[in-house]
Amino acid sequence: MNEPQGRRVKRIDELQRDVPPARDLWPAISAAIEADRAAATAPPVRRRAAWMPAAGMAAAVALVTVGVFIGRAITPQTGVTVAQNPPVESPYQPVSLVDAKYQQQRNALFAEVQAKLATMPAIEREKVNASLATLQRSITEIEAALGRDPANALLQELLVSSCQEEMRALTAVRDSGSQEI
């Protein structure tokens, strides 16, 4: 199989000088700048009680920024205020959008699981539904975090693991009670 060749160079100075960071670093910088400006312009006697700590402001800016593009991709977002600075597209795409085959398998499995759940007593059905909802929420939470930090290896591992776990749980429910003798 022919694999694509990387770019070849003959001079050291032909190497790419520009290497963009994996995630947008501006929010934290912006927060520190705001904190610096606030410290410089704050009235000497009274301090406003509503100042957020720099980290909290950075998180809020990041979340709003993320919310704009995550909202477009995953769930509808209403009333989101666009950050003062335009959001930067994250290279991360939710796995459900990228891997059509995975999504197809998952949808098919999900449909079979719904049919199986319908045969279960109500209490058991509720317990299992709650677990499956927990898994979906976790996957969404991890994907949102990856949207902010796409190169984070821990998040990538947890996402793969959680998606596998969801498939395992769906399969377990679908196959449960099968008498295979």
Binding site: E141, L154, L158, A172, S176, E180
Partner: protein, 299 residues
């Protein structure tokens, strides 16, 4: 029980039409068949309970109480394999439960498949594959390579302190294991998982939102892997020569008594890690969470 019915059954059995030891639904059931000392016993029941006990005889003895809607219990044996199956009529929704007590040769490997029946086993020295959808599973495990699974039922396991390979999983049930040795894998989605190992060479625990509480004496070169998304992880593990640890959490806290400092992955972003290296090629513990807290101690 109607006499006519029994006479018909006997006649059909004598004519070789019915399988050996089939029995039409009735309130009580009792049947015994010859079995291989280390054969396979495969049991399935929809609702009620299944108690499996190991004994010293080369026989499988099935007894129990059957609900009025149970059509029959099939007991068949062939080539070292004994199958016991509770048969219900289609669309049955009345009293279709069967409470069975089954005694099997203790060296048998046992496979149980239940829907809402509770499953318990004791005195089995062979491998066990116990599955229940919503029933609880309670097992004494001594045989190597056992696998216990439930969807929403709790699973309780007690080992005998001898090394085995064991996998226990549930979707929403809790897992509680004690006196286990050898290699253990625990998986749950939202249930809480707790395991106490007297000697662990391999320990893997995974949960999504439940808590994971693992206590183990590790072998010198043991490997421990624990993972949770939003659930908390508690690890109390010790090993000869000490324990090396790589702990990472995206937004949870990391605490414990290991000699090492928790550091931030990045000055501006989330993420904490704890790396402790006490001995080269020694016992190693890895744990990772998204938002769950991790507590680790080697005492």
């Amino acid at each position: 029980m109607r006499e006519t019915g029994i006479r018909s059954v006997i006649a059909l059995w004598a004519a070789g039409v019915l399988p050996l030891a089939a029995y039409a639904g009735d309130e009580s059931f009792d049947r015994k068949v010859e079995a291989t000392a280390n054969g396979e016993v495969v049991i399935s029941n929809v609702s009620g309970s299944i108690e499996v006990r190991g004994w010293d005889r080369n026989e499988v003895h099935v007894s129990g109480e059957l609900g009025s809607d149970v059509e029959r219990v099939d007991v068949e044996t062939s080539g070292g394999r004994t199958t016991i199956k509770v048969v219900l009529p289609r669309g049955s929704n009345h009293d279709s439960s069967a409470d069975l007590e089954i005694q099997v040769p203790k060296m048998s490997s046992v496979e149980v498949s239940a829907v809402s029946a509770d499953v318990s086993s004791r005195g089995i020295l062979g491998a066990q594959r116990l599955k229940s959808v919503s029933g609880e599973i309670t097992a004494d495990v001594a045989g190597d390579d056992s696998d216990l699974r439930s969807v929403s039922g709790d699973v309780t396991v007690r080992g005998d302190g001898k090394p085995v390979r064991l996998r226990v999983s549930s979707v929403s049930g809790n897992l509680d294991l004690s006196n286990i040795a050898g290699k253990l894998e625990l998986v749950t989605v939202s249930g809480d998982a707790r395991a106490q190992m007297t000697e662990a060479s391999e320990l893997r625990g995974k949960t999504t939102s439940g808590s994971l509480n693992l206590r183990a004496k590790l072998t010198r070169d043991a490997r421990v892997d624990a993972e949770a998304v939003s659930g908390d992880i508690t690890l109390h593990v010790s090993a000869p020569g000490g324990v090396s640890a790589e702990i990472e959490s995206f937004s949870g806290d990391i605490e414990g008594c290991l000699a090492g400092a928790v550091e931030r992955v990045s000055k501006y972003g989330p993420g904490k890690r704890l790396n402790v290296r006490t001995v080269e090629d020694g016992a190693r513990v890895r744990a990772k969470t998204l938002s769950g807290d991790v507590e680790i101690c080697d005492k």
